[in-house]
């Protein structure tokens, strides 16, 4: 009798593992997306999943939602803040089952190709949502495209920069932030020996390895020739820079769990002089002990260059519309409003996030926040990432490898060879 319990328990565990798989529906003929309806007549309910930081950024977006509703009183917007870390899986589960998915989603640039390839997103070409496409920065706009169609409209763009504590650098005898990887190491070591703080706070996250890989001329993939380049000599050289930073003590041994938070805390509290991070951390950094009373102490510089160039990944967020939405027209209007130059300038002014439209930078609201101008130079080093459906899967193998390297278990070269092997399993038809 008790054996039966065990079988039931085990079966239940299995059921949990596999019951997430939905059934197939029989195909029905799709209805073409309604092109242009008269904006004032559109009514309906739009549920928006915002993935921004609920305490620091959410209120600013909620205010914009109110402005939208004032402009289009027939449309009700249901604002839902979904934690960024859960949003991708939550959306996929809801989108696939056909119930509970939002009409509009704030999608990270790397998610769009995957969602679009799976049929979850509505194509936006020829709808209200795609307004003034010529007024977008090319790299963010590229993130919204899949298979020649536009599936998402850029909201903000970002990249990684070198953030530094001016006072600590000055104490170490450096007036300017490092411009190359060698200088980065030297400045970090000087800070350590002269300023009584750690040099560079590293965040063990695959995304944060990219500036080093790009700097030496490497990349994860070469999309044009369908080649896996993560283990190329250039990429290995880039990762070796990180290995050397840790081994030489220029960067203290990084935390593996909660790595981002630990590195950020060290920088904010003035325990570390430098960090690689993006404009999304502006608000939280300026709130930290090291910068709260002295915002001028907060320095922003482009990521240092390697032997090839200075390069950092293009990040940011897009607005995407769920293909199964019952309120497509209202959703398109909402996206149009939220992605307009005026709205982007307001977001930039309030939060210091970078607009994805060049014209928004010239609007007074954006100019009012000096963070926007200060990020302009780091932004010039932004490198476009491979916008492919498998893009979201590329980071886990690299993260595991980075962790092994940070704990000293494995060296840069074998780590990247393992990553390349994992990529071969993920990307069918790609060559090494």
């Amino acid at each position: 009798m008790r054996r039966r319990i065990s079988a039931v328990a085990a079966a239940a565990a299995l059921a949990l593992a596999v019951s997430a798989c939905g059934g197939e529906d029989t195909a029905t003929q799709p209805s073409a997306p309604a092109g242009s309806a008269n904006a004032a007549d559109v009514s309906g309910q739009v549920t928006w999943w915002d993935t921004s930081d609920a305490t620091n950024e959410g209120p600013a977006f909620q205010e914009l939602v109110k402005e939208f509703q004032a402009k289009y009183p027939k449309i009700t917007v249901n604002y839902v803040n979904v934690p960024f870390a859960d949003a991708q899986n939550k959306f996929k589960t809801a989108a696939q089952s056909g119930s509970g998915a939002p009409d509009v989603l704030r999608a990270e640039v790397g998610w769009v190709a995957e969602f679009a390839s799976l049929g979850y997103l509505a194509p936006l070409d020829g709808t209200q949502a795609l307004d003034a496409p010529e007024d977008f920065l090319p790299s963010p706009l590229g993130s919204g495209k899949y298979d020649g169609k536009t599936y998402a409209i850029p909201q903000v763009t970002d990249t990684l920069g070198l953030l530094y504590n001016k006072e600590l650098l000055k104490k170490a005898g450096h007036d300017a932030p490092p411009k190359t990887f060698e200088e980065l190491k030297q400045v970090a070591l000087d800070v350590k020996s002269k300023a009584g703080a750690e040099g560079l706070a590293l965040n063990v996250d695959a995304y944060f390895l990219l500036p080093f890989i790009y700097g030496e001329g490497g990349d994860l993939l070469d999309v044009n020739t369908k080649k896996i380049t993560v283990a190329s000599p250039q990429s290995v050289a880039g990762v070796k820079v990180v290995e050397d930073l840790i081994k030489s003590g220029a960067a203290p041994k990084p935390a593996i769990q909660d790595s981002y938070t630990n590195a950020e805390t060290a920088f904010k509290e003035g325990k570390a002089a430098m960090i690689f991070n993006g404009p999304w951390s502006n608000t939280s950094n300026l709130d930290g002990k090291a910068f709260k009373d002295d915002p001028d102490n907060f320095g922003i510089a482009p990521v240092p260059a390697g032997s090839a160039k200075a390069g950092s990944p293009t990040g940011g967020h897009d607005y995407a519309v769920y293909a199964g939405s019952k309120n497509l027209d209202a959703s398109y209007l909402f996206v149009k409003f939220m992605a307009s130059a005026e709205t982007q300038a307001k977001v930039a002014g309030k939060l210091g996030l970078l607009p994805a439209r060049p014209s928004a930078y010239d609007l007074p609201e954006a100019k009012a926040n000096d963070m926007v101008a200060r990020w302009k130079e780091p932004m010039a080093a932004a490198v476009e990432r491979p916008w492919i459906p498998e893009g979201g899967q590329l980071f886990q193998p690299l993260l595991e490898g980075y962790q092994q390297m940070a704990t000293g278990e494995n060296a840069a070269e074998p780590v990247l060879q393992n990553v390349a092997k994992a990529y071969q399993g993920l990307l069918k038809g790609w060559s090494l």
Binding site: M1, R3, S19, G98, N262
Partner: protein
């Protein structure tokens, strides 16, 4: 504990009814007529079990024999129509898993994790139960406190532990440093990460074992101890020859349950170390979860993992039962 037993007897009821039938030597129709009430009583459980367990199980096994992923399972969402293009591929998912280097290393760590956790659960649970089974001041207060870890949802405890064990800013290291010891990278070193997850899981699992064993201890007749005392037995003799054998019916059940739970203990690994650093603390279920939920969902691959894990546990349970039966346990 008690709820599990109640569930078990409910699920077992139809089997028992069937087992008795042949003794009566009656025809099929009259059996149904005679036991209709029993059948009606178990029908809801049987139906619910079939729907909640049977269907997903069968579907999971079927999917594991195909190459279905999120990309090739047909569906229609608004204007987008995706045709079904997945195919039957036989056992190739299983051979791919079993021949991968990942499988053996994950299985090895999962077995170590399960054995160490269950041994510590049972050992510490037994020790605490023995202490709390004797007259003691504030006994109920102690019992209540020791049950507390079990009363908190596992994911909450896992998160709290993760913050306590943070290398730079965690409370545990702060205490170590306060007394002049160097901090330990609890979650950031492959070996310490394993020690940490085992510690957290032991902390979580001991209360259940303690309660179960406490119940078992109280079921041992006092006369046996009195008789042993008359015969001049030492406390160790009493423990060895009365307590341990007397606990066997309880122990055999809770150890099997504990093994299955620990083998599939998802939240502790996933929330405390996320399988890291570098995949070193990943057990089979967390690995299968990654397969299923990372990037484009691999339904067939993760279903194959699920079926394999189920098969391993079934083999374990059958083997365990045989071993007990050989020792004369009526189980």
């Amino acid at each position: 504990m008690t709820t599990q037993v109640v569930d078990g007897s409910a699920a077992g009821a139809p089997a028992r009814g069937r087992a008795r039938r042949p003794k009566g030597g009656r025809g099929g129709g009259s059996v149904l007529a005679r036991h209709w009430y029993a059948w009606a009583m178990c029908a809801p459980v049987v139906i619910v079990t079939l729907v909640l367990v049977g269907y997903p199980l069968v579907r999971g096994v079927y999917l594991s024999l195909t190459d279905a992923t999120e990309a090739n399972m047909g569906r229609t969402i608004g204007m987008n129509v995706i045709p079904s293009t997945y195919e039957f591929v036989g056992l190739s998912n299983y051979t791919a898993i079993v021949t991968s280097a990942e499988f053996l290393s994950r299985l090895g760590w999962t077995v170590v994790w399960t054995v160490v956790c269950v041994a510590l659960h049972y050992g510490i649970g037994l020790g605490l139960a023995l202490m709390l089974n004797r007259p003691l001041r504030f006994r109920s207060a102690y019992r209540l406190m020791l049950v507390l870890p079990w009363a908190v949802p596992a994911f909450v405890s896992a998160f709290i532990w993760r913050y306590l064990l943070n290398g730079e800013y965690g409370v545990v290291n702060a205490m170590l440093r306060a007394v002049g010891l160097p901090g330990v990278s609890w979650l950031d070193d492959p070996l310490w990460a394993k020690v940490s997850v085992i510690t957290v899981n032991v902390w979580l699992g001991v209360p259940f074992m303690m309660l179960a064993i406490l119940g078992g201890l109280q079921a041992i007749p006092r006369e046996q101890y009195e008789a042993a005392e008359v015969d001049g037995a030492t406390p160790w003799d009493k423990f060895r020859h009365i307590t341990l054998p007397g606990l066997r019916p309880v122990a055999s059940t809770v150890i099997l349950l504990g093994t299955i739970w620990t083998f599939n203990q998802f939240p502790v690994i996933y929330l405390v170390t996320r399988g890291g650093p570098g995949g070193s603390s990943e057990i089979l279920v967390t690995y299968a979860y990654r397969q299923a939920f990372e990037g484009i969902r691999n339904y067939s691959g993760s279903a194959a993992w699920g079926v394999l894990i189920l098969a391993l546990l079934v083999i374990l349970a059958v083997g365990y039962r045989r071993a007990l039966r050989r020792q004369g346990e009526a189980w």
